[in-house]
Amino acid sequence: MGKAYVITSGKGGVGKTTSSANIGTSLAMLGKKVCLLDLDIGLRNLDVVLGLDNRIMYDIVDVAVGRAKLAQALVKDKRFDDLLYLLPAAQNTDKSALNQDQVKEIVDDLKPDFDYILIDCPAGIEQGFMNAIAGADSAIIVTTPEISAVRDADRVVGLLEQHPLQEQPRLIINRIRQHMMKDGSVMDVDEITHHLGVELLGIVLDDDAVITTSNKGEPIVLQAENPAGQGYRDIARRLIGESVPLMELKDEVKPTFWQKVGHWFKKS
């Protein structure tokens, strides 16, 4: 029987969809069977980030109203054998097209066949948010070190306290710029975690490659050396119950002269 996590933040643009795609992919790389559920109806992106946008036949609204069977709407990611699936959002309607019972029913139908169901929540705290938490057993809250994102995360934690899920929510701090956190111009990891009073699940560093890989439809976790990918892989391992130490924030070391020279030769 699988477990359903909703990935939410309140604020838009903090990396809910990127996090969903990368955590889902990492779990699949660890051999777990994963279904990603895009609930951002009308503004779907998860399919694009995964590079599956050209394979969509049916969507979640089709399943909810009975136009398609669940198995028909699931899109398989061929890179991971039989492990990673996506249930895409509808693009031609809006968040009110679904209700909480329908979402819950779909998630319950998926649970026997998957180890993990990750629900990508839309921004905001209206109907779409309520739908997304209706089917979930636990929540993963994504924030960035910006005050506005932390405020919205605080609001979401408050709402989750009013509608408690089976398990306590956990926190991901995304897009960390090490030098800004080091020099104190943004809240640091401990401050954010302590302020929100939510258990920390992991941190993810800001990296240009996250954007370039997302544009290509390849999750960043597929790059073994990338620190942001490492952050997401650590998060996935913590989700399956492994104990992984938190990544240390280091001062960015400027490359030495000889390293620069070496870099020129590598390129050519």
Partner: protein
């Protein structure tokens, strides 16, 4: 047997006492009888409108029955009801008054977008995050962290106070007075008392000066500060 409605004269005027043990219908007929008799008496004298206080004793009258009393009086041009009083209150009202008198210890996080409303005084040990509101009808003693909005004397009691360190708060409010702390330069620490002064303006004092700021409250707590 005593009549179910009895006329009494008090120093404030006339009072009709309704027997708390009599049946409602018996009271209504007794009341009519009494008023008929009074009307017969007053007809001979110069007409003058008489207003009655009605005392229902240890019985609470429903709004419906109170309305029936009013309709009975409406038949008599010279008589009117001044007020209907009772010696007892409802359980809800008594619970509300008790709550109003008690001190509540609040130890929770009030998050962005949440309103916490409390009747009575509050000893606050928790946290109010930015965008959260703590709205209290009585006084507040703050030992926790306040980064949101804190209001004593909700909705309009200006004799209440906020004591404690609220220097991080977005707004402090007492009754209908409010202040945006960013706009003020008051020094606020653990020994600060925020109150509404005689000019109906929020003012900042020290807990040592509580005796001058609010003598009534000072006496109520026994006149002892810091031990």
């Amino acid at each position: 047997m005593q009549d179910a409605a009895v006329l009494k004269g008090t120093k404030d005027g006339y009072e009709i006492v309704l027997d708390e043990n009599a049946g409602i219908e018996a009271i209504f007929s007794a009341l009519k009888k009494l008023l008929n008799g009074l009307q017969a008496q007053t007809l001979s004298t110069k007409p003058q409108i008489i207003s009655f206080d009605i005392d229902t004793g240890r019985r609470l009258w429903s709004a419906e029955n109170r309305a029936r009393i009013e309709t009975i009086f409406a038949d008599y041009a010279d008589f009117s009801v001044h007020k209907i009083t009772s010696n007892v209150i409802t359980k809800e009202e008594s619970a509300r008054r008790l709550e109003q008198l008690s001190v509540h210890v609040i130890d929770k996080i009030i998050r962005n977008g949440q309103d916490e409303r409390i009747q009575g005084d509050v000893l606050f040990l928790g946290k109010v995050h930015e965008g959260g509101k703590l709205l209290v009808s009585g006084n507040i003693y703050v030992l926790g962290e306040v980064s949101g909005i804190i209001q004593a004397g909700t909705p309009d009691f200006e004799d209440k106070m906020i004591i404690g360190d609220v220097h991080n708060a977005q707004q402090v409010r007492i009754g209908e007075q409010f202040e945006i702390l960013d706009d003020t330069r008051h020094h606020i620490d653990g020994g600060t008392v925020i109150y509404v002064n005689d000019l109906h303006v929020l003012d900042y004092g020290k807990v040592e000066d509580l005796k001058q700021i609010n003598p009534k409250f000072f006496n109520q707590i026994g006149g002892v500060i810091n031990g």
